[in-house]
């Protein structure tokens, strides 16, 4: 094999120089002469009937070119209903929204009317003046109360707010509970947050003169799926529409969705025959980009006298928000992942997906897994407390050990495939993490601190994340006559350095330096189909496809060179961008020259009988998932007088299989952990009793900043995945999942003298004080 070993190198990213110079081109940076600007009027009510659109008066306002409602867009679209975005036979009609609401609005922020004007300011002036008339209706706000038969309904005409109810499980649950020595019941709650990439959403659609062709740039995680939907909704052919994802300023799940605004802008551009752009502002992002994590759990765990888990059962209410644009996979992920790294002989969960008049819920970084890990890890901590055992010891007794891998979870994923853990060493990850954080000496540290009136706590948690969903990705690798290499992939670069990783995978086969490789990603003109960036999949799917394409180019180059150099193929190798005879580095031919030879000459055969040009296509198909895992440990100090939580140490042990680039991998862990810290301590998308969002600025909704987060100590264990040729597993989400349970456990441990038990996240300082007070009604607080 190759002697390059560029896979695994801490290579600096190829994306960075342009971004550091301010030369990154994000959607709002694209120069587009003659562009019109869109702004959306949005519902100010959580639930209301629309009684009148002020179309005519808005048309008279300065600079307004068009005022569009669903009725006006209908001529450009096959349907003004948003099509369901994942195939699902179980979604009832009406579960998806309209492109623009024609009659009824179901959450604050739902778009109802689009103004297109000569400038953004003029479009926003018109929207600010738009007096859409509404007749307010009762709103459903709390998912736990949404099932009341006589309560309000999320949409008019539906019989129930329950979108779907399903059970997930296996084994003899009732029998296990009936005979279990110990059963503990808990209720848990996790609140919704917002994805908040620092670049919000945005889309630019430009009709190509003299044709029905349309080019669309969108800040998206799924350019190919946006392309497919535009083809369907605009009634176009594949070749009529080109979708390009330019530089994308972060995604975190919220851009893995086709939004109404994207379709409306594209339809408006076609209708008006002029380019139209819409760039989201932050207030819109708070209200109209998807949210995630609202769940209520009511669960019981049965254990034997030695704290071995016998069974787990309970119910889950998942708040889906007003619409279900993409299916209910976040709730399914929660239900199918709660057993995590543990042997759980019997399990059953009853899941209710409940609709509310709030922003629709789809996966944000973690996608249902963080909530489930929170519940499981908190339950394990409860067992330890009840049986007066060490929390690490209870985990050790229940972990799936490496000798049992591959481990069938006895559960299926949402597409029906068996969930089988391909590998991992959970006890090792735990041991490494506990050693690094100094668990053995913690009790002494805690005791000494308490003597000074300081409250230290330690907490830890495991996470297991099946990464990489199929069914496939495609790639093309081409060598130019100059010897430069271009990689085309369906991958989406949105900050995770996937272009660098793909270049490394290509360089490994072609022995070309990274700076001679250019990666083109997220452009439907080059890669016709694929699934983009979600579920921590691109290192598995896109990199494997690039690996196979690069391997094919390598083999083709060797075959042609064998003829050109009059050598046996087995005597040839690739070195420094050349195919050379082994041991005779002076005797060889550059890849650029082979590329030229393979372009051919009129009337002459191609060397080696190969196909034209030095290029290969490949696809990588897989239905299995690669199971990444993590063990996190943190140490905190809690001030019981103010409720303030200081994060003193944070250790993250991650196993994402073989690492393509450890520098990038560490960065992914840092960001993932800090996202989890936000979920644990800061981020709370609040609504009032009427369903009004009340945290719609960064002064009200807190993201972690540099002064709140510690340095994250990252350790990697590399258990190669057996599911793909590179042995890689996904990483992007795997660092977020264990954070909330580890942090909350640490806070609870710090507050042990107060008898505080914590079953929720986020945990604000005010809530810490409340919990202390509730646990100590008679005790005078410090």
């Amino acid at each position: 094999m190759s002697a390059q070993r560029i896979i695994g190198a801490r290579a600096r990213r190829v994306e960075d120089p342009a971004l550091l110079r301010g030369e990154g081109v994000y959607v709002d940076d694209i120069a587009c002469p003659g562009v019109l600007h869109a702004a959306f009027a949005r519902s100010p009510h959580a639930h209301a009937r629309i009684t009148r659109f002020p179309v005519e008066e808005l048309k008279a306002m300065p600079g307004v070119v068009a005022v569009l409602t669903a009725a006006e867009l209908a001529s450009e679209m096959t349907s003004v209903l948003m099509p369901p975005q994942f195939p699902s036979s179980s979604l009832p009609p009406g579960a998806g929204s309209y492109v623009l609401a024609p009659k009824e609005v179901c959450y604050v922020g739902e778009p109802v009317l689009m103004v297109v004007a000569e400038s953004r300011a003029l479009a926003e002036d018109a929207v600010a003046a738009a007096e859409v008339d509404y007749e307010p209706l009762a709103a459903v706000v709390d998912a736990a109360a949404a099932g009341a038969p006589d309560g309000p309904k999320v949409r008019e005409g539906i019989a129930s707010n329950l979108l779907t109810r399903f059970k997930v499980g296996y084994g003899a649950v009732s029998e296990a509970f009936a005979s279990a020595p110990h059963v503990y019941r808990e209720r848990y709650w996790q609140h919704r947050g917002v994805a908040h990439p620092i670049e919000g959403r945005g889309v630019l659609a430009r009709p190509e003169p003299g044709s029905r062709k349309l080019t669309v740039w969108s800040s998206t995680q799924m350019s190919n799926l946006l392309h497919s939907m535009l083809v369907d909704v605009l009634g176009a052919d594949e070749d009529d529409i080109r979708v390009i994802a330019p530089a994308v300023g972060g995604g975190f799940g919220c851009k893995y969705l086709v939004y109404p605004e994207e379709l409306a802008v594209a339809a408006a551009a076609r209708k008006l025959g002029r380019p139209v752009k819409w760039v989201e502002d932050r207030c819109e992002h708070f209200m109209a980009a998807i949210h995630e994590r609202d769940q209520y759990w009511d669960v019981e765990i049965a254990v034997d006298a030695n704290a071995k888990v016998l069974a787990l059962r309970g119910s889950l209410i998942h708040d889906q928000g007003a619409y279900t644009p993409q299916g209910f996979h976040a709730s399914y992920n929660s239900a199918s992942s709660i057993t995590g790294p543990y042997v759980v002989p019997a399990y059953e969960i009853d899941v209710q997906v409940m609709q509310t008049n709030k922003t629709p819920v789809q996966p944000v970084r973690g996608a249902g897994y963080p909530q489930a890990a929170f519940v499981m890890e908190r339950l394990i901590d409860r067992v330890a407390r009840e049986l007066e055992l060490d929390r690490a010891e209870v985990r050790s007794r229940n972990l799936i050990t490496p000798d049992r891998m591959p481990y069938p979870k006895k559960l299926k994923n949402r597409s029906g495939a068996e969930l089988v853990i391909d590998g991992g060493d959970y006890p090792k990850c735990q041991a490494l993490g506990l050693e690094r954080i100094g668990y053995a000496g913690f009790l002494a540290r805690q005791k000494a601190a308490r003597a000074e009136g300081r409250y230290l706590g330690i907490g830890f948690a495991h996470a297991v994340k099946p990464t990489g969903r199929g069914p496939y990705e495609m790639a093309r690798v081409r060598v130019s006559t100059s010897g430069r290499v271009t990689v085309y992939a369906g991958a989406m670069e949105m900050g995770q350095g996937i272009k660098t990783s793909l270049a490394q995978v290509c360089a490994e086969q072609l022995a070309v330096p990274l700076e001679r490789i250019e990666v083109t990603a997220g452009d439907s003109a080059y890669i016709p189909a694929g699934f983009g960036g979600f579920g921590s999949r691109q290192a598995i799917f896109c990199a494997s496809a690039v690996h196979l394409a690069a391997l094919a180019v390598r083999n083709k180059a060797i075959r042609a060179a064998a003829t050109l150099l009059e050598a046996a193929e087995s005597d040839l190798e690739l070195k420094d961008g050349r195919v050379v005879v082994k041991g005779v580095p002076g005797h060889g031919i550059s890849l650029g020259d082979i590329s030229r030879k393979l372009r051919g000459a009129p009337g002459y055969a191609l060397p080696g009988g190969v196909t034209p040009i030095l290029e290969a296509d490949a696809s990588f198909q897989l239905d299995l998932q690669a199971f990444a895992n993590a063990f996190h440990a943190c140490e905190v100090e809690v001030d019981p007088g103010t409720g303030h939580v200081s994060l003193l140490r944070y250790v993250a042990v991650q196993d994402s299989g073989r690492l393509i680039n450890p520098l990038i991998a560490e960065g992914q862990v840092h960001g993932g952990v800090v996202h989890g810290i936000g979920n644990a301590l800061f981020e709370w998308m609040r609504y009032d009793e009427q369903g009004q969002p009340i945290t719609t600025t960064f002064a009200d909704y807190l993201l972690p900043t540099a002064t709140e987060v510690p340095n994250i100590e990252v350790l990697f264990v590399e258990t190669p995945s057996t599911t793909n040729p590179l042995g890689v597993k996904g990483l992007g989400e795997a660092a977020t999942i264990a954070v909330a349970p580890a942090v909350i456990a640490a806070v609870e441990n710090a507050l042990e003298p107060f008898g505080v038990h914590i079953n929720e996240a986020p945990l604000t300082p005010v809530r810490v004080l409340e919990l202390i007070r509730n646990s100590n009604p008679e005790r005078k607080l410090p």
């Binding site: 990213r13 110079r21 940076d29 900050g495 600025t697």
Partner: protein
């Protein structure tokens, strides 16, 4: 009051004279009137720091400042940091230490750190984190940004 103002500004050493709408903010002026799109707009309410530029040497949120207020000022933006061929030492440290991911918040952070390291060339971690507390980054967890700044401050 007039709807427009005539302003003269110097940006990255180059002089510009333009007529601007009174309500146009400085970020929009830089981005859409002058094509200096390296300065990004992340929140439009002065919280995320992505739009930070230097106005007469001091960091300012260009989304909270009107273009007309910049009349007569000297501005520095991310486009002015690098040389023709080389990144400047701070940019280079960001590249070497993986101090950016999606890159959207990066220009504003570079400008704030430029100010900090001019004022305090040997800034310590606490000072760097305090300066960064006016910026939001969703990708990096700030860790490698801090590491890059510490490297320039000679602390690593």
């Amino acid at each position: 009051m007039s709807e427009f103002h005539d302003i003269a500004v110097k940006i990255n050493g180059r002089s510009y004279e333009r007529r601007v709408a009174v309500r146009m903010n400085l970020a929009d002026f830089l981005r859409h009137e002058l094509g200096l799109t390296g300065t990004h707009v992340g929140c439009e309410h002065g919280a995320c720091g992505a739009c930070t530029v230097l106005v007469d040497g001091r960091s300012a949120r260009s989304c909270l400042m009107l273009a007309a207020q910049a009349d007569g000022c000297e501005l520095e933006t991310v486009e002015g940091l690098a040389g023709e061929t080389d990144l400047n030492p701070l940019q280079q440290a960001f590249w070497d230490r993986h101090g950016l991911q999606c890159g959207f918040c990066t220009p504003g952070i570079l400008m704030t750190l430029t100010e900090l390291l001019r004022d305090t060339p040997n800034a310590d971690e606490a000072a760097i984190r305090a300066a960064l507390s006016g910026h939001l980054c969703r990708c990096t967890g700030y860790q490698n940004i801090v590491a890059a700044a510490l490297a320039v401050a000679g602390k690593t």
